[in-house]
Each structure stands twice: as structure tokens, then as C-alpha cells.
């Protein structure tokens, strides 16, 4: 594997698909994506682009109330609209199974989750009826004519109130709004807090976010009664798991269901799910005997596609005054929304697992309560639990550094495990595979010009300028994951087939939806077989073509799916060697695979790759017992997760008069193990950072007290735009993972995980001299301005006494800084 150097925006002259004569491997090159020409030209097909003869369209009628009894539903007027084929309510679709939840926990309350609401609606946007018509106009017009009697009920939106003495419940049958309690305790936490010189406490809120994939959800279904075959085109990250669930929901043999994920325009976890519409639309196609298509509007996407985050975190860090961390206590309330979608209760548990961050905490005490509210379900959104954990750890570390008056980078360096301590067992029970945390942070500090930034900060204060430097380090859990630790199997499949002409087909169980595996997997196979990436066609997202696979999420496709492809290719290499040896009169062990040629060591005899391949198919001259053809399948079960890591630094200036934040510089040093394609890794990091900064600065899904979504359109919900952001400075360190033969880790979520606390740390750092220690996200100008106004109005407390060598050195460094104060 190539050990890749610096990722930069400079293009590599020999990077565009044409192979130069040298033997440099394909892996490690900045190849442009094979996918892009068709996507950029708009000549490919998403689900909404597909049209079938006699296709019908459907529109869901959704609840305008967050919590209400559903009375009579009158559909006559809707049925009378010209072009309407049918209107269906819960009664009609009662044969469809529940919307599934894959998570099992001992005390987990699992509410019934019918595809159309029965007697109650529990969030705004919950589907209550579906209208099917010849065209979308008729369906949309008719949907407005469906009359539903609602009896509004008390709306539960506040988690703390939901757990208090309230007598109203999202689900009456549970007589409680608590869905589960999950605890993770290890080490002597009482001793840690007893021994602590200081306990740093902070409540921090991780606000609710919308995943906002560029392509909204869409389903097209066709049933052929003669063949008894249901085909479903679905914008999904998990075609096989969806096929299994559709067969269960509709009571069909799984062999009768084919799921195709055509082009999928992003998911960020929101399409790692099974939704009501995924059952309804195929049911309609079967019921009506005609193809039916549903395409989600953006407003529906806001209201009825899963949300992410939404936790309240009470955090306490026990720390010695020399800066040694002793223990972490975290209490989390996780807003689950009204129902469990596929993985809803799992996400906070992932947070718990990652709360050790990249530090040596001797003791930890975590308790999480999952809470039902009258909102859309939360579930996996880019990072899925890890950004929440990293936010908690990196914020409390920064707050502690300020309280102890220790430089925040120095404080982190002191508490990292050393690289020789890996594999490192964390207090939360994980084994981190490999890392060099110090190297990564030091590189970031150097790239950012950290010391100069600190000097500027100090000098700026004298001129009333508020510069801040945010440091955030992170470790994340990727390559999800060993099956024992995942709800639906954590392996991945690959079938590699060398066709008679020497072209290669890879059938991967991964389901790329923007990640570019058609390119990276082709690169890795090309190197193994001595051919070009253009010779490799990567097929995915069709359950009839591809062996059962798990899908693309959790930064797993390359580390698990890519490894499966790599190992399947090894099987073929062995077969090629056997056949080449037979044809050359040599020993299989002496055969090496070169560029389009197989050579016998020593004898210098060689045979073109294509001839060996053809011989395997003509099968006229094959060794005894040699199985004709060249196809191999591997199901790869990983032995552990992988744990990418890195260090990010943000430099900001805060306008003290308006609270506006200017992001001036952003440096990211990420380590995702070996790199298949630096261009794609950089792309993932770039997008991830933007998305994470989006949470820190702009994004928030607000439900008001009536449970109405206040920021449910793109005119209200602020996504990061390119011109909001500076050019990022990216670099990396490369620490191969020992968990898989390619030494890869995963990179899909890293940027999102690191950048959110990095930004908040930077802004709070800028205002630390005013005594501000925490501002809740998003850091809207008004919030920042309010914090500044309150701080300026509040009286000052004296500087805390500093003891110890490290603190003393920090004190020297900070001698020029104005006094700090705890608020």
C-alpha cells in the first residue's frame, strides 16, 4: 500500500486515468472519480428519474399536529378528483408490518410503529393516508381534500419535562416517556472525584439537526404477478437489509423481492433506514397492479426523514491541577422522537462508547436516558453518536484547560496515550487499533502557526480585538464493525469475476451513494491483478446482481467492503497462478503477476494475463481438479473496529459588537490509515468539516412548544455554503490499521466529528478573557452577542490560584492575559 504524502489541491500530473509506463501502484493516486462524468452531465438516473409504463404517483397525507387523536378520515372528495386511483388509510394497510427497529436492549420500550397512523398521531409529518393518482398534480390536489378529524393532545417537546411529573405520555401504554436507560461505568469514579483538585462542570446541548441529503428519499415499486416478483427502486444506503425488511413487512418470500438502489444522491445516514413509505409504496404497487412512485418533497424531508443529535449533556471532569485527567461523569438525555426508526436507540450508546475520546481516563461513569417526545425520530446522522461524544469530551477538555490556565494543546498532549501503548484499551471497553495522537496534534499546531496565533490573540486584546484559537483532537470508531457488536451483521461481501476477455466485474455489498467506491475499489483491484482501474467495473446496489451485503455507513465501505474485495481478489490470484503455472510448466509458487502478464520466477517464461484468463474459461487445458471460470467471493468479518484520529485547529475573530464570527483559518490533520485515493479522502474531509462547522455555527432544527417545525425549510434551516468558509488547510499522518490487510481505517465522518467542537472551542477561546466559558450551538451572532453583553455586565472574580510546574509555565505564557473568571 502506498504511504501517501501530503494531500494538497495541487493536481498530480499523471493522475487522470491514463497509466504511465512505470510500475507505480494505482492505489495512492489522485484519480478523478469514474462516477463523475455521468453525474455532472445529468445523464444518470436517480429514482425520481425512472419512469415505467402505467406508472402511478402517490402523495402522503401527513399530520399537521404533533400529538392528536385521529378521528374520522373522509376521503370521498379526494377520490372524486379526476385521475385519482385510490385513497388508503391505516385500516387498508393493516396487513403491512410495523416500521422496524433493529435494536435490542434489555429495558428498551419499543412502541408500535404502523406505516400509517392508527388512533393517534405523534409528530408533525406522521403519515395518516396516502393518495394514488395518474399524475402528481391530481395526487397533490386530492391529498388536500382528505379530511381528517384531529383531537389535539398535550404536546411533549421538552425532555426534562417529559421525564418529570407529567401525566401525559407519547405512548400511553408505557406510562412513562423514558424509552431506556443505558449505563456504562468503569474504574473507581468516586475515588477519581475525591482525588480531584478541581471538578469542571458544564451542561452542553447538542442540538437537533437535519441530514439534508441533496437527493430526498424516493421509492418506485413494480409488481409482476405472473413472475411473482416485486422490484423496488429505492434511494437507500442498505439495499439488502431493506430487501429483508420489505419481505418481512409485506409477508413476501425474500426471493421474490429485488431492491435496486440507483444513483443515490447522498444519505449522511438518513437512508440507512427503513421508513413507512418503503412498505407503503410496494404495497400499493401490488394492490393496484401498476407501478407506483413516491418522491419526497424537501419539506417532507425535513419533517419525516430522520433527524440527528439532540442531546442534553451534563458533564463533569475530575482533574488534577497539574492537568492530569482522573475521571469523567456524563449524564445524557437523548431525544429519540416519537418512534424508533431502525437504529434510533443505538445512537446514544455509540456516544457512550466514544466518551473516552483520545485520553487516558482512569474512570468513567455514563448514564443515558432515551426520551420519547412528539418529534420525528432521531437516528444515524453523519457521525452517529461520535460527534456527540467528541463534542462533550473536547469541550470539557477546553473548558478545563481554561479553568486550569493550561494551554489547551499542552493539556491534551499530557493526557494522550503514547503510540507505543497501542492497541490501547479504553475505559469504555474498546480497543483502539493504532494511533499517534501526539504526532498528529503537533503537526496541526505547526501548520496552523499556533504560537503566532496565540501571540496575535494576546496582542489583539489590547486593541479590543477578540481572536480565538480552537483546538480539537478526536478519535472515531469506523469500519463498523465486528458482527458481535452490530445489530445486523458487520461483515461485507465481495465477488470478483474476471470475465473471459480479462475485464473485471466487482460485485460489492457496499452501497456507495457519493463516496466514490466505483473508483477506489477499481484502483485496489487493478493493482492486485496488474490491470487498469478502467478494466474494473464496480457493480453495487442491486440485490439480484450482488451477493447479500450490509451497505455503506459508519465509514465502513473501504475498510470492510474494500477488504472483502481485496481478499476475494487474493483467491483469484491464487487460481491465476495455478493455471499460469500449468500453462508454463512451472510451480504455482513461482508465478508473479505483473502488468498484464504472469511470469514464472527463474525460468523467465511468461504468459499474458488475457491468455490465462481465457484458458480458465475455454477450460481445454486446465490442471486436474481446477474449477473452470474465474470468480471468487469473500465475506469479510472484521476482527475489530478501526479508530481514525486527528487534530483540527480553527482560528476565528469575533466581532464583540455584533457577535458575528469570522472563521479565518482552518487546519485539519487527519489519520485514516492508508489512503486509496487522496483526492477522495480530501473530499470527505472537506465536506465533513463544512458539515461539522454547519452544526457549530448555523444549523438547528427547532420545534416550538406546539411541536411545529420552525426551521423546516431551506429558507430557515441554514446549511453551510461554500462562501461561508475559508479554504481549509489539510494534511495527514498515516498510521496503518492492523485490523485489515490494507491497513485502511475509514474517513467518511471524521471531518464532521472534529470540526464542531473545534469551532465552538475557538469562539469560546476568543471570549475567554471576558469570562465566557460556554455558548450553546449554533453560535448565532445574537447568542454570541448576548453572551458578551451578559459577561460585560457581570462582576469579575479573581484569577484562580495556580499551582504546579505545568500550571506555572502556563501562567508565564498567559501572564499578559487579562484575568479569567468562571461564570
Amino acid at each position: 500500500m502506498a504511504q501517501n504524502g501530503k494531500p494538497t489541491s495541487k493536481s498530480n500530473g499523471k493522475s487522470n486515468g491514463t497509466r504511465n509506463g512505470d510500475a507505480a501502484p494505482w492505489v495512492g493516486r489522485k484519480l478523478k472519480r469514474k462516477e463523475d462524468p455521468r453525474l455532472i452531465q445529468g445523464i444518470s438516473h436517480y429514482t425520481d428519474d425512472l419512469k415505467l409504463p402505467r406508472m402511478l404517483h402517490c402523495v402522503l397525507v401527513r399530520s399537521p399536529y404533533a400529538h392528536a387523536e385521529v378521528g374520522a378520515i373522509r376521503t370521498d372528495a379526494a377520490r372524486a378528483v379526476h385521475g385519482v386511483v385510490g385513497v388508503f388509510t391505516a385500516e387498508d394497510v393493516s396487513s403491512i408490518g410495523m416500521v422496524p427497529c433493529a435494536i435490542q436492549m434489555p429495558d428498551l420500550k419499543v412502541p408500535k410503529h404502523p406505516v400509517l397512523a392508527t388512533e393517534r398521531v405523534r409528530y408533525v409529518g406522521e403519515p395518516v393516508a396516502v393518495v394514488v393518482a395518474e399524475d402528481l398534480y391530481a395526487a397533490r390536489d386530492a391529498a388536500e381534500l382528505v379530511e381528517v378529524d384531529y383531537e389535539p393532545l398535550h404536546v411533549i417537546t421538552n425532555m426534562e419535562k417529559a421525564l418529570g411529573n407529567e401525566t401525559s405520555y407519547v405512548h400511553e401504554e408505557f406510562r412513562s416517556n423514558k424509552a431506556f436507560t443505558h449505563a456504562l461505568k468503569n474504574g473507581d469514579i468516586a475515588a477519581a472525584f475525591k482525588k480531584a483538585d478541581r471538578v469542571v462542570k458544564q451542561r452542553m446541548i447538542n442540538q437537533r439537526l437535519a441530514p439534508i441529503a441533496m437527493e430526498t428519499r424516493a421509492v418506485l415499486a413494480e409488481y409482476l404477478p405472473g413472475e411473482k416478483r416485486l422490484t423496488v427502486w429505492n434511494s437507500t444506503q442498505i439495499p439488502h437489509l431493506l430487501r429483508t425488511q420489505i419481505s418481512v413487512m409485506l409477508g413476501l418470500p425474500e426471493t421474490a423481492v429485488r431492491v435496486i438502489a440507483p444513483e443515490v444522491g447522498g444519505g449522511f445516514g438518513s437512508k440507512l433506514n427503513v421508513y413507512a413509505e418503503d412498505g407503503i409504496v410496494p404495497w400499493l404497487a401490488m394492490k393496484l397492479g401498476r407501478p407506483v412512485r413516491w418522491s419526497e418533497t424537501r419539506r417532507e424531508n425535513f419533517a419525516s426523514t430522520i433527524h440527528g443529535r439532540d442531546t442534553i449533556n451534563d458533564v463533569e471532569l475530575a482533574v488534577k491541577k497539574d492537568g492530569t485527567v482522573l475521571g469523567l461523569r456524563v449524564r445524557i438525555l437523548a431525544d429519540l422522537g416519537a418512534y424508533h426508526q431502525l437504529l434510533t436507540p443505538l445512537i446514544p450508546q455509540l456516544t457512550a462508547l466514544m466518551l473516552a475520546g483520545c485520553y487516558k481516563f482512569p474512570a468513567i461513569d455514563i448514564e443515558i436516558q432515551g426520551v420519547f417526545t412528539n418529534k420525528m425520530s432521531t437516528d444515524a446522522y453523519r457521525g452517529a453518536g461520535r460527534p456527540e461524544a467528541t463534542y462533550i469530551v473536547e469541550r470539557i477538555m477546553d473548558i478545563a484547560a481554561h479553568e486550569l490556565n493550561i494551554d489547551s494543546a499542552e493539556f491534551r498532549l499530557k493526557n494522550f496515550p503514547q503510540s507505543k501503548e497501542f492497541p490501547f484499551n479504553t475505559v469504555t471497553g474498546l480497543t483502539y487499533d493504532s494511533a499517534k495522537y501526539q504526532e498528529s496534534l503537533k503537526k496541526a499546531l505547526q501548520l496552523a502557526g499556533y504560537d503566532a496565533l496565540r501571540r496575535r490573540q494576546k496582542n489583539g486584546l489590547k486593541q479590543g480585538k477578540y481572536y480565538g484559537v480552537g483546538v480539537s483532537t478526536y478519535v472515531e470508531i469506523c469500519a463498523i464493525g465486528p458482527s458481535a457488536a452490530t445489530p445486523a451483521g458487520g461483515w461485507e461481501s465481495a465477488t470478483v469475476r474476471i470475465e473471459p476477455t480479462g475485464k473485471v466485474t466487482l460485485l460489492t455489498g457496499a452501497s456507495p451513494h457519493g463516496q466514490g467506491e466505483e473508483t477506489t475499489f477499481a484502483q485496489l483491484i487493478a493493482d492486485q491483478l496488474g490491470i487498469d482501474p478502467d478494466d474494473v467495473n464496480v457493480v453495487h446496489g442491486d440485490t439480484l446482481a450482488v451477493p447479500y451485503g450490509i451497505g455503506t455507513f459508519g465509514s465502513r465501505a473501504t475498510a470492510v467492503g474494500g477488504t472483502a474485495a481485496y481478499l476475494a481478489t487474493q483467491k483469484l490470484k491464487a487460481k491465476l497462478a495455478t493455471l499460469a503455472a500449468h500453462l508454463l510448466g512451472a510451480k504455482p509458487g513461482d508465478i508473479t503477476i505483473g502488468r498484464r502478464v504472469l511470469t514464472a520466477k527463474g525460468s523467465k517464461k511468461s504468459i499474458p494475463f488475457r491468455e490465462v484468463v481465457m484458458a480458465a474459461y475455454t477450460a481445454r487445458s486446465i490442471p486436474a481438479g481446477f474449477e473452470p471460470g474465474l470468480e471468487a467471493t469473500h465475506f469479510f468479518e472484521p476482527s475489530n473496529f478501526t479508530f481514525p484520529f486527528g487534530a483540527h485547529i480553527a482560528s476565528v475573530e469575533v466581532d464583540p459588537e455584533t457577535g458575528e464570527v469570522k472563521l479565518e483559518k482552518y487546519v485539519a490533520v487527519d489519520d485514516c490509515g492508508n489512503v486509496l485515493n487522496p483526492l477522495l479522502v480530501d473530499g470527505q474531509i472537506q465536506g465533513g468539516i463544512a458539515q461539522g462547522i454547519g452544526q457549530a455555527m448555523w444549523e438547528e432544527l427547532i420545534y416550538n412548544e406546539e411541536g411545529q417545525l420552525v426551521t423546516g425549510t431551506l429558507m430557515d434551516y441554514a446549511l453551510p455554503k461554500a462562501h461561508f468558509l475559508p479554504n481549509f488547510t489539510l494534511d495527514r499522518t498515516v498510521t496503518p490499521s492492523p485490523v485489515n490487510p490494507m491497513g485502511v481505517k475509514g474517513v467518511g465522518e471524521a471531518g464532521t466529528i472534529a470540526s464542531t467542537p473545534c469551532m465552538v472551542n475557538a469562539v469560546c477561546d476568543a471570549l475567554a478573557s471576558l469570562g465566557i466559558r460556554h455558548i450553546e450551538m449554533p453560535l448565532k451572532p445574537e447568542r454570541v452577542w448576548q453572551a458578551i453583553s451578559h459577561a460585560q455586565a457581570a462582576p469579575r472574580e479573581p484569577e484562580p490560584l495556580l499551582v504546579g510546574a505545568l500550571a506555572a509555565s502556563a501562567a508565564r505564557k498567559n501572564a499578559q492575559k487579562p484575568a479569567r473568571r468562571r461564570t
Binding site: D141, V710, D716, L719, P781
Partner: protein
């Protein structure tokens, strides 16, 4: 997103358009379509008839006439932003236009459409107020001139009658004045949370005249007359104190992004900064 059924006409003359507009009570004029069409897609607007004035010749122009610049109602934001004539002789309108929406919006949206829509966070209203612009409206009984200061009467509400169409906007040349448009963009919509348009004439260190239009702060754009009054005849140093009156007696809008209190605060800070910038420009 699918609008309700509607009729569509694209007349080739203004007279025809006015006739169509008068023919139906729930008829609406379609100019650039960047406010109306999104509202129709969400079914928030449900006009029965759309009168598309995009095919009427001669409504898109920017030309000089004595001491005024005349801007046709169907002139796009992009054309206004890039007009050399405006940039030279009355740059405030161009400054405001460059800050509207995004490239797509600027390429399709028109000044007439934007003024008629009168979104509280639109950019032109602040500019035309500061410029004392004239808005020309054609109706069944002929043409009339509406002063910008009398045009904006409420949220999405103007002095325009339902049977009138804006044909032209007339702005004065401001070659001897200093103009500045400052904007706090809403991060999602791009509309002005606060937009401050300043037109300042300074001579001998004294402020001869000042005109300020503010968008975004309240239901409709307004002239900050208290600030103007506090500046007139005063030295430039009076700016700080004068700017404090920017949102005086204004009932400010408040939402999840910016409360009324913050909008008013922002208005005063941005007014001061806009004035300071204008004054420093004027000093050169």
C-alpha cells in the same frame, strides 16, 4: 412541489397585460418569479391567473435622463449589479443588487418584481428609500409616480394597486455623495436581517445631508429620519451618537434567528459603520 392549477398568459404589450390583470380578481403579475413561484409551489400563493410580463419588450433598460438614471422594471439584479452607468452615477442600487440572493436569483429576479413583493428583508427597499427614488406605476387610468418614501406600507404591502404594474424606477445621480449598503445576511435565506443603505454628503468636515433606508428590521423598510436629523449640519464625529437612533420608535421583527432586540441593536451598529464608511469615502 406541485402548485394548484392556474391559468397563464404572456401578453406582448403593457396595455394587454394591464387588461388581463384587471380581468380577474385573483390575477398576479409574474416578473422574475423568484418570490412568487416558490410560494406557489408550496401552495402559499394560489393565483388563478399569472400574467407573465417577461415577453413585453422594452421593460429592461438602464439609461441616463438629465440628473436621473432610469431603470426598467424588468431589469435583472445581475444587470443592475454590473451596470457601469449605475456604478458610476448612482452606485447604491448596484451595491444592493450585488448582495441579493445568489447568482441564479440575480440572473432571473427583477427590480420591479422585488419592489412589488416588498419582502421585509429585501435589499432594494432600503436603497430606493435612501435615494428618494421614484417608482413609476402603470394602471388602467395611465401612469403615476409613487415616491419611494410613500411606497412601502407594510409587510408584503405597498402603495401599488392590484391593477397596477411597476414599469420603471428612477434614481438620482449621486456623484457628489458617498453611498454605502451594508447587510447582515440571513444564513439560510440570504435576505437582509438588517440592511442599511446610506447616502451622505459631506463638505468641509460637516454633514450637509444624510439619507438612510433600513431593511429587515421591521415589517417594511423605512427611512431613519431621526438619524438624518441628528446628522444634518453636524461634524462627522456626530455619527456615533446619531446612529443610536437607527431603530428608534420602530417595532422590530423577531424570529428564531434574530430577536427584535438584536435586530435593533444590529441596526444601530450597522448604521454607524455604514455612516463611518460613507464619511471616510466622502473624505477622500
Amino acid at each position: 412541489m406541485i402548485p394548484v392549477n392556474f391559468d397563464y398568459e404572456s401578453p406582448s404589450t403593457l396595455a394587454e397585460a394591464l387588461k388581463l390583470l384587471a380581468s380577474r380578481e385573483d390575477a398576479k403579475v409574474l416578473a422574475g418569479g423568484h418570490s412568487l413561484l416558490p410560494a406557489m409551489k408550496l401552495r402559499l400563493a394560489q393565483p388563478a391567473l399569472l400574467v407573465d410580463i417577461g415577453r413585453i419588450a422594452g421593460l429592461s433598460y438602464i439609461r441616463e435622463s438629465n440628473d436621473q438614471i432610469l431603470v426598467g422594471a424588468m431589469t435583472t439584479h445581475a444587470d443592475i449589479a454590473s451596470s457601469k452607468l449605475l456604478q458610476r452615477s448612482s452606485p447604491l442600487l448596484s451595491q444592493a443588487a450585488t448582495q441579493i440572493g445568489d447568482t441564479q436569483v440575480r440572473n432571473r429576479g427583477t427590480i420591479g418584481g422585488s419592489l412589488a413583493q416588498a419582502h421585509p428583508g429585501a435589499d432594494y427597499p432600503a436603497a430606493v428609500l435612501a435615494l428618494d427614488a421614484q417608482i413609476i406605476a402603470a394602471g388602467p387610468s395611465g401612469e403615476r409616480v409613487i415616491a419611494a418614501t410613500a411606497f412601502f406600507v407594510g409587510m408584503f404591502t405597498t402603495a401599488l394597486r392590484p391593477d397596477e404594474i411597476i414599469t420603471e424606477v428612477r434614481v438620482p445621480k449621486t456623484e457628489n455623495e458617498s453611498v454605502v449598503y451594508k447587510k447582515h445576511h440571513h444564513p439560510a435565506s440570504g435576505y437582509a436581517v438588517v440592511g442599511v443603505a446610506v447616502r451622505l454628503k459631506v463638505s468641509g468636515g460637516k454633514i450637509e445631508s444624510a439619507a438612510l433606508g433600513l431593511s429587515g428590521v421591521s415589517q417594511n423598510a423605512y427611512r431613519a429620519t431621526a438619524v438624518e436629523k441628528a446628522l444634518r449640519g453636524k461634524p462627522v464625529a456626530a455619527i456615533r451618537e446619531a446612529a443610536a437612533h437607527a431603530a428608534e420608535n420602530i417595532e422590530a421583527l423577531g424570529d428564531y434567528y434574530a430577536s427584535a432586540e438584536y435586530r435593533k441593536h444590529l441596526a444601530t451598529v450597522m448604521t454607524r459603520r455604514a455612516l463611518e464608511q460613507a464619511a471616510s469615502g466622502a473624505a477622500k
